[in-house]
């Protein structure tokens, strides 16, 4: 429970954390990088007493209706119908459903929407959602790249529909380009999508000249670059775009696979880079959106790199 008066009195940020045991029950085959252990590693690091001030809340199940603001009904029903009674059902080579996947995905959406409600309702300054499956590769009508539904996009639509947000910015620092988020908002200037990602790399999209309605800002990073290139790209492309856009809410597609230990990419970030980037976004949120910032877990496949990067990110969210 948040105590706004006391929080204001001691002058620190109230950071809420949503997670749920159902996220561990979205199963993938042995050897698959997007695995339940990712959340166990995050849970373990956030159990440290350093994170005692976090406001921990169990994620609520989402309202399936909210998905329809982003994905068409027949797509949603197709995914639901593909969920197996037992075992696993593949959508493509990467993307898999297990019996509890629908409920896990719906609870990820529930947490993202609740986080939006919290920052608009004054129950938190900012929120981190530790959920899976991730979402940023999910296009309007295609589930792919470990992603079923695009929960960042759904949360953005929720902010617009429920809270009257006029402009929502989604900043995506997952090492893979968020082709799904770009697809969904391609011709919608009410949503700004900014992405830093390795290029070339899966899914192949995210070139600088993909600009949508002027609302898409891609900042591709060459393989084997690191902190300096990332911070330059973030400072010269992402931050000015945000500043000019003046968002009412910032949503972060927070993947941590640009960490140097990550097995799926070749960008060499360290935890301090995620700390820094978080601070930059909080500054923008303070300037334009009354501090409202919602961060949603996307990728990150080295368990230690992931857990320590999340610690740096959430630590910065709490500190302000």
């Amino acid at each position: 429970m948040v105590k706004p008066v006391a929080r204001a009195y001691i002058g620190r940020m109230a950071t809420r954390l949503y997670t749920h045991p159902i996220y561990l029950e979205h199963l993938t085959p042995p050897g698959h990088p997007e695995r339940p252990d990712r959340l166990r590693a995050i849970q373990r690091v956030l159990d440290d007493e350093a994170f005692a001030p976090l406001d921990r809340v169990e994620a609520p199940e989402g309202d399936p209706q909210t998905i329809l603001a982003v994905h068409p009904r027949d797509f949603v029903e197709r995914i639901k119908a593909t969920v197996p009674q037992d075992g696993l059902a593949g959508i493509d080579g990467d993307t898999v459903l297990s019996p509890k996947s629908w409920q896990a995905a719906l609870t990820a959406i529930g947490a993202a929407n609740a986080a939006v409600d919290d920052v608009f309702g004054g129950r938190a300054d900012n929120v981190f959602v530790a959920a899976r499956p991730p979402g940023h590769h999910a296009e309007k009508t295609t589930a792919m790249g470990f992603c079923l539904f695009n929960y960042a996009a759904i949360a953005a639509r929720h902010a617009q529909g429920r809270h009257g947000a006029e402009r929502v910015a989604i900043v995506d620092w997952d090492v893979h380009h968020g082709n799904g988020t770009q697809d969904i908002f391609w011709d919608d200037p009410s949503v700004l999508y900014c992405s830093t990602h390795q290029m070339p790399l899966y899914p192949g999209t995210g070139a600088k000249n993909e600009t949508g309605a002027g609302n898409i800002v891609n900042a591709p990073l060459a393989p084997r670059t690191g902190s300096e290139t990332f911070r330059d790209a973030f400072s010269s492309r992402v931050l000015p775009a945000l500043d000019a856009f003046r968002p009412d809410l910032i949503i972060v597609s927070a993947g941590f696979d640009a960490h140097h230990r990550d097995p799926l990419a070749e960008i060499n970030l360290v935890e301090d880079d995620f700390d820094w980037a978080t601070g930059q976004l909080m500054e923008q949120a303070g300037r334009h959106s009354a501090g409202r910032l919602v961060s949603l877990l996307e990728g990150g496949y080295d368990l230690q790199g992931l857990a320590f990067s999340v610690a740096a990110h959430v630590g910065r969210l709490m500190k302000g």
């Binding site: 105590k3 590693a41 350093a50 360290v270």
Partner: protein, 83 residues
Amino acid sequence: MADEANADVKAMSFEQALDALEKIVDDLERGDVPLDQSIRIYERGEALKAHCDRLLKAAEDKVEKIRLSRDGKPAGTEPLDGE
């Protein structure tokens, strides 16, 4: 005297201290605390705030130490059992 009266504060968790502080700030702001008690309550509020500050500062210092070194070993504290 006031120190002694607030000795229990030091043993409080962050959440407990925040709860107590919320109640005090609430009471003081509503203005329904008699004058002779208000100083004592104010002092308790200050003790709670100082305690929260200490806990938060300690937490922040610790968060900053949760970092990996380049070879993958935790550089500061070790909240993970080496994966």
